[in-house]
Symmetry: C2
Subunit: 154 residues, 2 copies
Amino acid sequence: MKKILAGLTLATVAFTGMAIAQDAPFAREIKARQGIMMYRAINLGVLGAMAKGEAEYDAAAAQKAADNLMASITLDASMLWPQGSDNSANPASTALAAMWEEGSGIGDKAKAMADAAAAMQAAAGVDLASLQGAMKGVGDGCGGCHKAFRVPTN
Amino acid sequence: MKKILAGLTLATVAFTGMAIAQDAPFAREIKARQGIMMYRAINLGVLGAMAKGEAEYDAAAAQKAADNLMASITLDASMLWPQGSDNSANPASTALAAMWEEGSGIGDKAKAMADAAAAMQAAAGVDLASLQGAMKGVGDGCGGCHKAFRVPTN
């Protein structure tokens, strides 16, 4: 019965599209993790704009953005990444199944990101040069997962 | 020029739909805040299932879910709710403009939610009765904003 229901749900999704996409596999987890990713992007955008000179350096605003980035990274997201919740199960996700494979190194990559965010948190409020010095690490941290485990978007 | 570009963007959104909805007004903020709401719903679901007896009470899992709920509520979301980012500006949002009106009481409602989440955090890991006792407060906390400031969904 469960299998029949799942089949019906998939068919419904295929024919009615976005409106019912909440019923798609792992739709809730994907929505939550993508929203948290966007939260990181928004706060990282504040830091990036200062680093590139597109916005004036503001120590308090930089510190706040870095604190937010760190808080969003230390937020327990373990329940948002169940096995199978990749792009092949639900195209709303851009996560590749490779992430869940034995030896993917996802744990190390997540730790590298957290370390880079901590370094940014220590640097962002000091001065512009410190913020700029911490940007590459954060970019590498993001890229660690995105390059390896995200559907290429060109 | 900026106005012309904005006009073009709106027209593009109207004609090409969801794929380009990221360009819609406040799309990034709305995506982030809805994702964080979903994160809360997922963790609250763990607590609710135990409270209703649909899942066996598990003190560690309950505590973790309550900790997660609290962490997601203390996460600084101030940048996600800019004035004007309501349902009338972007139908992807279900937020009513009334939230931003003088005297809407949004600050008190947010504080009530945070207090309820803190009470749940103190109760969830104690025993099932304590968890159940804290559920109404959390439900009222959620409802405080959702009833007043969310587009009715019937």
